[in-house]
Amino acid sequence: MTVSRRPHPELSAARHDSQVRLRFVGPWTLGASMPAAHTYELPFTTDGIAHVSFDTSKLTEWDTGFITYLVELLAAAGRHHLDVDRGGLPQGVQRLLALVEAVPEKADARHDAGRVGMFTAIGRRVIDSADSARAVLGFIGEATLAFGKLLAFRARYRTSDLLLLVQQAGAEALPIVTLISFLVGLILAFVGAVQLQQFGATIYVANLVGIATVREMGAMMTAIVMAGRTGAAYAAQLGSMKATQELDALTTMGISPLEFLVLPRMIALFLMMPLLCLYSDLLGILGGATVSVGLLGLSPIRYYQQTVSAISLGDLVGGVFKASVYGVLIALAGCLRGIQAGKSSAAVGEATTSAVVTSIVWIITACGIFAVLFYLLGI
């Protein structure tokens, strides 16, 4: 034996006639460098072997690492149709091996890890997306029904919940909306100024920032901020309520979660988004003004007048209207993903991610549709 500080596990085989005696020496523990896996078969490859026995008199330590090795070894012996005498193994090892073998593997217990054909995979995807589209439509339908009940004053939700949601989606969102809108106005002004300076038309920065902010960017930036901030929160709230069966508790109480949870969230965002959008418009224009006055040397009055003359009421109303629609979309996407969530903490995380992605996709799609509509309507 080599003189090393840490003894390592050794396996040797001695053959007498048709019998092989496997001798385990040293510590056979997890983390010890056991003989490599391909050596399982080696002692059995010679012809004429019929019996296997074990000698563990020099085995100093063992744990489940040894058992793992033995299970593979016994499987190899089984493949060679050998008769195994386990008498030489320590009592504890024999008992653990018996436990491992006590319950046969259930035929359908393992997940189907086999490769799926391309057409099967495509087919499953198609069916899945059809199901998911149906779920989305069903949810929108139910939400519409709940909205109808609201108009008939028959919807069940708590006013105190609604007020709290309004506060969360309104006042508490102001700081982040301030920051983002102001910076976007600033950036627009910078980009525009560089181009417009070439024509000596720097005053038109006011038009650029004003129209872009009021028509599109105000509503869009607010919506994206709210999707990440509030839509995600809705998905997480409803997702964890689903995981803890709080949604089930509502349903069996005869209270529809759609009315009790989704409706107030839709109303909160529907009401708050236009206000946030107006605020965002103002901050965006202020951002533009900061650059124009500070860097381009325009007078504040001149900038103000140019902005007022550039923006029409239609631009403003169109932008604010879009913001309301985005608000409803964000609330719908957040609540939908929350309600669809699975019943684990991982599922709640996925629901949150999915809510933000869904909201943004819906917002951008709606934005495109609005662009075409407004163009056709001449707004």
Partner: protein, 258 residues
């Protein structure tokens, strides 16, 4: 099955019920009757579909086949309005309590009262306090669910389930996660409520002590054959059943070795 009932005292009747998730059949051809004021236990090994059966009974899942009747009303085929009326006479206590975490205990109990009765806010508050006192939570009205222990959450959930004085109380694993004494006290409370309110009680559990303490009727679901293999009073099942699986379950595996 072994339930010798006439239709008059039948409260809930499960008729040829098959439960499935997609193509996976969990239990098929369940057929049993729960009588008025029964303490009815749904028992069976883990994963055999006990909790799913409860979800079917309260309409959270729809049967793949078969029907559920409440008295003379067909619950499975009922329109939403009738369904709501039936559910309003039911109270459910979920495994984890499922109290609404954004509301205090009193608000949790008060919500169904506010929605379905014409009581004034002051009266609602008083009734909610009374229900909490009934389950031993006097003085905890303004606590949030996260501020109290698991056992207290379960009792608060029971108070909420009884808010509307239901005719049927459903319990999903009431003793899960409780120490033996709390579990025993909860069992006593269930019996007490059954006796004083005259409610029918349906309990999903695999807790043997609890089963023998409270049940006078039961159904046994088997995970392998995926159907019910016994029914009736668990004590009688223990004494007279010749089904090895039922005996093994009711004796904690001791019967198998004999």
């Amino acid at each position: 099955m072994a339930t010798s009932t006439t239709d008059s005292d039948a409260h809930i009747r499960v008729d040829q019920l098959t439960m499935a998730y997609g193509n996976f059949v969990l239990q098929r051809d369940l057929d049993f009757t729960i009588r008025r004021a029964d303490v009815f236990v749904v028992m069976g090994g883990s994963g055999c579909g006990k909790s799913t059966l409860l979800r079917h009974l309260v309409g959270l899942n729809d049967p793949a086949r078969g029907e559920i009747w409440y008295g003379d009303d067909n619950f499975t085929r009922a329109d939403p309005k009738l369904r709501e009326q039936i559910l309003r006479r039911c109270g459910v206590m979920y495994q984890s309590g499922a109290l609404w975490s954004s509301m205090t205990l009193a608000e949790n109990v008060a919500l169904p009262l506010g929605e379905f009765t014409d009581l004034k806010p002051h009266d609602i508050r008083q009734v909610a306090s009374l229900k909490l006192a009934l389950v031993g939570l006097k003085g905890f009205e303004d606590y949030y669910p996260s501020e109290i222990s698991g056992g207290m959450q379960k009792r608060a959930a029971l108070a909420r389930a009884m808010a509307l004085d239901p005719e049927v109380l459903f319990f999903d694993e009431p003793s899960a996660g409780l120490d033996p004494i709390s579990s025993y006290l909860l069992d006593r409370l269930i019996l007490e409520l059954r006796d004083s309110l005259g409610a029918t009680v349906v309990v999903v559990t695999h807790e043997l002590a609890s089963i023998f303490n409270i049940a006078n009727n039961s159904v046994f679901l088997d995970a392998e054959t995926r159907t019910m293999i016994a029914g009736g009073d668990p004590k009688e099942l223990l004494a007279h059943s010749d089904n090895p699986k039922v005996l093994e379950f009711l004796t904690r595996g001791a019967e198998k070795k004999r």
